[in-house]
Symmetry: C2
Subunit: 120 residues, 2 copies
Amino acid sequence: MSKAILLFGHGARNREYAEPFHRIKAAIQLREPDAKIEIGFLELQRPTFEEAIDALVRHGATDVRIVPIFFAPGRHVLKDLPERAALALDRYPDLNVEVADAVGMVPSVVDAMADYALGK
Amino acid sequence: MSKAILLFGHGARNREYAEPFHRIKAAIQLREPDAKIEIGFLELQRPTFEEAIDALVRHGATDVRIVPIFFAPGRHVLKDLPERAALALDRYPDLNVEVADAVGMVPSVVDAMADYALGK
């Protein structure tokens, strides 16, 4: 079965906020052309988290990995996201959901930022 | 001359917001033990951007690379940061300042996030 990934973001009023999400999505798609990938925002912007879940299920996803595109695991990641994920499971009882760590806490991502900071 | 790096962030009221900054700083320090690294926030949190600049200069920095720890280059990166950097140059006319791209736009960082999203 192909992978289903939801890139979870806060959302913002300015359009360029979504840009890195589209870059990450494109980089994933390059690696796994069959992966189903949706971007879902908590607020202020669409598609919403719920719309992203709906789209993944509609495309046949049974297992979704939710990846918080946040530097730190604050309230939005630790409280809002699990609440939204629980509501999604109410709507789709057969769906399996895995919530990954906030990307800013992931060693390989931190290493890439450190290398870049050093101009490498 | 050793490198001087300023990790620039927005700042937030919650304490955990600073966590990824400290992780990035530690990862840089591991790679280059002599690097001078300061964290500086735009608002809501200390040290401020100005305090970070002052600390770097006090430690002998003549060239500072400012790295925006932001996913997207929005107003804070494109407008607020250059303004603050210009004010710092007024205070330290001999300082050389380089503003790097927002980390969320850097291909190696995007790649690391994509790999992580795929569970690699």
